[in-house]
Amino acid sequence: MAEPKTMFDKIWDSHLVEEKDDGTCIIYIDRQIIHEITSAQAFDGLRDAGRKPRDPGANLLVPDHNVPTTPGRGGIDEIENEDSRVQLEVFDRNAKEFGLPYIPINDVRQGIVHVIGPEQGFTQPGLTLVCGDSHTATHGALGALAFGIGTSEVEHVLATQTLLQKPSKNMRITVNGTPRECVTAKDIILAIIGKIGTAGGTGCVIEYAGEAIENMSIEGRMTVCNMTIEGGARAGLVAPDEKTFEYLKGRPMAPKGAAWEQAVEYWKTLRSDPGAKYDIEVELDASEIEPYVSWGTSPEMVAPIGSVVPNPADIADEAKRSTVEGALKYMGIEAGMKLTDIHVDKVFIGSCTNSRIEDMRAAAAVAKGRKVADSVYAMVVPGSGLVKEQAEAEGLDKIFVEAGFDWREPGCSMCLGMNGDMLQPGERSASTSNRNFQGRQGPGGRTHLVSPAMAAAAAVTGHLTDVRELTAEAAE
């Protein structure tokens, strides 16, 4: 009998075009999503070399990183910042010049690349999908081998539909058990990164498995796969199942009719074979995970909300100690202080990690009937125009607005400090995004990563809060 294979091995093998003597492989890339900030130089490269996209229909273009999210925003020509406007104009021109499928800024389908890929059915199990953005790992939630690439590689894929790669190692993270109340996909992935560290998955593709992952919604799986890169791995994978098929069925770019049946048959063959071998195995028990927050400047600097800021003096390794000391200094917090004593100035609910309809619902459930604290500015930024529409149909926008949140247009927004939504120096946020690096949300800004429900809780109390206290209060 053939060697049992992992899901990664199966997808890799089925996309191998050529293996060279030194082990470098040409891998076929089925699909690419392209956004404005990592593509201008790639299109210039094509033009300079007189090359054309090999398969225009394999691409999908959408602006997200650098678009304003101001309610009622206009078109590109109304963008005030000149560099931003030029970047979006160039993107628009490139989309048209090269004849590529394109969702422009004020199309209702516009949104964050990693929200709209699955939403449009562009992302499907078993295919290889890339984007010039490291959170492309998100798409692995549907069973696609999806990873982030740089601009030179964007150009390489446009010109050749392939990439030069070497196979990754196989890592499996099994999350057993049932999570406690208010513990979400976000808390689980933060706990995983806390355990394996930001370089724990370097060189690997991480397959997420176990009861907690199987029972998770597709949106939740996307949140988990999204932050795979924060654990150092380029791609995350979850085996496609009935939930995946249900999610995809009827999406605009999903297969239809007989092709659908044929595709599903194939997708069912993708899960790892029993007995497949992994280079690294990690196990967690979901029932032991508490709501998590990050306290430092790296996504591995996380702790359960009920704990205190760690003390560098307790760390033996000198380099680690000085990294933690630097982080506390940057964050403006003291060793030993309770995490719930950390006050926030801004709350950001959005980003490709947590801006889907479920995230909106979870945040709204906490916001309902409460008010944003006077000292806090809070914003909700849906991941796409369609998420926004759905949320409005459910009346979630009203809940947010009544509570004092800003309800905005879709885009990356304050996940990264570039499009006008930013932290000011010294300001502190509770944010549902994925990176708490120094200056990520604006120079001098301080970020605490949390789930949507925890972000809403911080917004109403003005400090990091265990959301379970609010829900318990409400139940009384």
Binding site: I26, T38, G150, S152, A319, G439
Partner: protein, 206 residues
């Protein structure tokens, strides 16, 4: 791409671990539509104060390191965002080689595609090279890619590994796309096979 030449120059020490690409080039500088000109904003937020003046004790602002060609860095250099602006900014500043114990995967690929050599060494070797680098202008570090050697200021040589294909591309200044297109026929026959085996992937419409 220009060919990679041997280096003999000053190396700047950056011992912090997990130096991420947001630190290397903050997001607000990604509005550019060019590959060049990012060197002035390399490490912007730790290199300059709010008023635009230089942070004196930041390593690349010190006289000895203003023209550094090599960085010796803490573990997991280049983690985070996939922005190729990070190697562009390093190259534009004049950095030609970064030495560390480990690099993030995407940054690793992006760097080689831009002629920036990344060398992995053991933690002990890295620590020794950090000590060398701290001597500033008095200590020149040599990089010989052809023979895969780092030459310490005292003449001691450290051998390093590099992927043969990447080495070849760096030394010859080769463009990946051209190399891949030599396999056109194989790509075409893969596409024919995919058409018959996975027909649902053809021609998806928005």
């Amino acid at each position: 791409m220009e060919k990679f030449e041997n280096i003999s120059g000053v190396a700047a020490p950056m011992p912090d671990h997990n130096i991420d690409t947001d630190r290397i080039i903050p997001a607000r500088f990604l509005k550019t539509i060019k590959r060049t000109g990012l060197g002035v904003n390399l490490f912007n937020d730790i290199r300059y104060k709010d008023d635009g003046s230089e942070v004196e004790d930041f390593v690349l602002n010190q006289p000895a390191y203003r023209k550094a060609e090599v960085l010796v860095a803490g573990d997991n250099f280049g983690c985070g965002s996939s922005r190729e602006h990070a190697p562009w900014a390093l190259k534009d500043f004049g950095i030609k080689c970064v030495i560390s114990t480990s690099f993030a995967d995407i940054f690793f690929n992006n760097s080689f595609k831009n002629g920036l050599l990344l060398i992995r060494v053991t933690p002990a070797q890295r620590d020794a090279l950090l000590e060398d680098a701290k001597k500033g202008a008095n200590a020149r570090i040599g990089i010989d890619l052809e023979n895969q050697k780092i030459i310490r200021p005292d003449g001691e040589e450290i051998d390093f590994e590099v992927d043969p294909f990447r080495k070849h591309c760096l030394l010859e200044g080769l463009d990946d796309i051209g190399i891949t297109l030599q396999s056109e026929d194989k790509i075409s026959s893969y596409e024919d096979k995919r058409k018959s085996q996975m027909p649902w992937l053809q021609g998806a419409q928005l």
